[in-house]
Amino acid sequence: MPLRTTGGTGSVSTTKTAPRESGERADTEPDRDAEDGREEGRHLNSPLLLTLLLLTAVMFQDPIRGALSAPVMQSWMTVFVAVMVQALPFLVLGVLLSAAIAVFVPPSFFARALPRRPALAVPVAGAAGAVLPGCECASVPVAGALVRRGVTPAAALAFLLSAPAINPIVLTATAVAFPGNPEMVLARFVASLLVACAMGWLWHRLGRTDWLRLPAGTSYEGQSKGAAFWDSVRHDVTHAGGFLVVGAMAAATLKAVVPADWLRLAADHPVLSVLALAVLAVLLSICSEADAFVAASLTQFSLTARLTFLVVGPMIDLKLFAMQAGTFGRAFALRFAPATFALAVVVSALTGTVLL
């Protein structure tokens, strides 16, 4: 919102925009308005709050550091920061691409590029995932932009699931990580594409549009293209980035507390080992460009179990769930995530039995 200035921190555009802004907000966001009212009552707005937060943190940095010096807290922090530093560049890349799609690519392009029948558009979009060289953090905002650009959700979801798993970078990493088992690359490609298409068709059959809650009202009418582009980048980074923080915190917590001995117990049982690695893939939330190396090191597990790890991880994990809930709404994520998980486990177990 343009400079919702309150209290004494007046600035350039206050007088011009304030009345129009409040009028607009009144019909779209009543609760937000009420909240603003409270904020104004206390003469606090978010820039001021941010400044206060920063100053407080700097003032108390010694006690904060002391509280975080325990080894388990330090390793938690390291993993948290590592996931953020590693994922942010890919998120930024995905956000730039999605902003470009939202602003510069006309909806008619997708209407021409994709088959009109959703049932056919799903596999085309799924296979198109092979051209987005990145990890899962990039694919969420791009899929969101595709839906907003009028691509049928079923196709956009197939793209969302396949892009992080079947792009050349990830497949190369898989080949490098499994030098003795080149069939692993093929199995990963086939299983991931199958799950992506199956989920797309499933959504086409059973999905309801009211489950999808796309950020409404992001119309860029009346703005120049440049303004719309940067507005979209700003919004998506702060929005998806916030959810990325949630996911990174969850992944760091699990990395710090899950004992490795549990895995050894599960590895001996054929069914349990597949399920254990599927759950592990969800919990660890490793970037899809690196997960093959982790899978390669889980030598006590069967190849099929490790394939499950590689198929489930890029499609659904804690970080992705948080980001999907942020982009498509919680009602969607709560239905989509379990279905993806179940389907991915089943398909990779079958593919593993046939190919590995």
């Binding site: 550091r65 975080l68 330090q74 390793s75 560049p89 700003r234």
Partner: protein, 235 residues
Amino acid sequence: MNRLAQTALLFLLGATLLHAGTTDLYLRYVKSGLRPLVLLAGAVLIATAAATLWYERRRTTAAAHHHEPRISWLLTLPVFALILVAPPALGSYSAAHTGTALTKPLGFPDLPEGGGPLRLGVADYASRAVYDDGRSLRGRELKITGFVTLDRAGAPYLVRMGLNCCAADAQPVKIALTGDIPPVLRPDTWLEITGRYTPRRTKDPVNNGPIPYVEVTSARPVPTPHDPYDETWNT
């Protein structure tokens, strides 16, 4: 969080990434190959902040805007974590809780000949000792650098964490120490040990992975290396 605060936050986040990318700080968290991407992301975030501010000042028509997400506030956490705390690279705590990740390499390239001591990485020594029966190591004086980790029983290991992408996937490779070990070893101290190959082996209590021993003749503390992780062992 309104636009002005978001702009400030984006700027801070971008500046933090640039700071981490231009110093060696980023090496504690991600592999060195990600550096261009980290710098690029930092630059894009700062550009976004600048562009938002620029268009904000020239805004004449108010476009419809939806709920500005409150979840953005969470983005202050990585900024604080990086600027105020800058947590160290993963060390003995995670090494002691993770099994050794030694895997059989494709082959063993010839080691340089010469009379002087031979410098080896932890993973290189471990894989040659375990999977090559130390053929290339026998009778040579070796120098290996890693950090100290003690297991629950207090037995010392020399460890290097291997990295594929970021610290979330870091895995240790361990060598057990025997011979002339310094009497007091503090976990997380970086040591350069000089020693010899010994066929003695043990198993990692965490995952039953193979851990070779090395017979130490002398050890000296060294500063933390430029890149605390070993990025070569998987490629």
